[in-house]
Amino acid sequence: MPLSRIASQSHASNLLKPLSTALSLRRSISSDSTTPLTIETSLPFTSHKCDAPPRAVDTSASELFSFFRDMATMRRMEISADSLYKAKLIRGFCHLYDGQEAVAVGMEAAITKKDAIITAYRDHCTFVGRGGTLLEVFGELMGRTCGGSKGKGGSMHLYRKQDSFYGGHGIVGAQIPLGCGLAFAQRYSKEENVTFTMYGDGAANQGQLFEALNMAALWDLPAILVCENNHYGMGTAEWRASKSPAYYKRGDYVPGLKVDGMDVLAVKQACKFAKEHALKNGPLILEMDTYRYHGHSMSDPGSTYRTRDEISGVRQERDPIERVRKLLLAHDIASEKELKDLEKQVRKDVDDAIAKAKESPMPDPSELFTHVYVKGLGAESFGADRKEVRATLP
């Protein structure tokens, strides 16, 4: 028998209210129970040219527990990357996703590994959600051979084709036409799969988005455009960048849905709805209302264009991991101690992966000339001094 609906609001105080009701109908649900549970999303969905999905989300104790574990792992991974960057073990760019974990985790819960995901450069957690390991992330960030791209790509270039994750792109908005192309391939091959093409509020005004969207709509491609709206494009607030920051409506003739991106259940529900919609009716835009705690990248303190109060306010009221923690406690799926122990284990897993990655060697110099072509045709390639260093591309 399903548990009584608990209307979770975004404010912490309201979230705590139903705890008393839960206690009175107390029953012990183990964290690996797959008995269905129904929980309401924090906020209703707002829709544009389509019907909104219901707020009641089907989940289970074990799924909620896995959400907590996965998001806690991602959070710990990103924070550790911050320290590694400051210790100069990571070079170049490093764009961190902490605060936005619910989007990556909720999406995975609604789809399969045959559905494709493509995103921009804030991709560490998306990569992990698709099946990438912590070792592959840290190895790649530190430029070692155990990295997901063998150390040759760096933070912005993580890929996992076997699980339909197409990266990992540095140029703002360029992944959107690529994503619509992936959807085109899926439709062309008559697969019943969809592509989630992710971008941020900063990319939302790119012309290529609208060009690709037009084609996707014209040809009914199973493309779901996901705007991860963290309200700042680098240092520019959305109201300074967009005449209309209602990104879910920007598709005009393409339907859209606005989702609380800090609520993993809402994300799951929206993505499930989007997949069904896209397979029948073509493209859809999902706007995930989310937030990043870090600045745009490690070169950005993140506090020159927003107040520390705003950041801590979101952390207190809307943190995705805290929301799930409260649900787990309220439904008696896990105790505070169990969750603290899990977080300790996560810390250890992350530290172990970092230690292992540090031991991994840098790529061999011969790797400079590998992976340039699929079919090199015996062409020659050269190093900086072409008479000293040359190679034949196989």
């Binding site: 070692r144 790509g153 760096g154 270039h157 110099p365 340039v372 072409r386």
Partner: protein, 234 residues
Amino acid sequence: MSAGQISVPIVFRGPNGAAAGVGAQHSQCYAAWFAACPGLKVLTPYSSEDARGLLKAAIRDPDPVVFLENELLYGESFPVSAEVLDSSFCLPIGKAKIEREGKDVTITAYSKMVGYALKAADILAKEGISAEVINLRSIRPLDRSTINASVRKTNRLVTVEESFPQHGVGAEICTSVVEESFGYLDAPVERIAGADVPMPYAANLERMAVPQVEDIVRAAKRTCHRSVPLAATA
């Protein structure tokens, strides 16, 4: 296209080329791409004097100018004369600067590579080779006369650039010299450029993908028939 009715007096400025560890999509030098286009002017400052004088000239110029800076050079300081600090200081577009005079080999470079070429010249001087370093400043229009005059004096040429070698700035300079000063060359023209591969992220591979001072020294020595056998330089 409008027979001169409409002109585009705009300047596009920004960082160009590799920074440090920014990977394949953020490291390419586009000097040769832009310089292939008739109608565009392409400038590549190296020092503070270049940056100040060329930018003012670019803004005053009535044609579209692509002003290619370098992220790593933003952090470097250069001594400047009082003349440079004057508010009306301007440099001519299309003229290269001889940063260091020499008589044995001409080394052309632009942007960050000018600094590397100057360091290479110091090392070469210790070995008795006097290198003339030309800071191109202007990729389009290219100062062919300064380059050719220098090669006619030294008889040897090493071109240095950070970008990919094929169809690059060095290739154009080499062709200009072959076309106009072939008889003056005592050795084949040497070309030092970025490695012909997408820029890798790993620090050791990135170092191999970008020209280093020792590459320039080695190439200059080859033109002077003073190269060290390959095995020793491995």
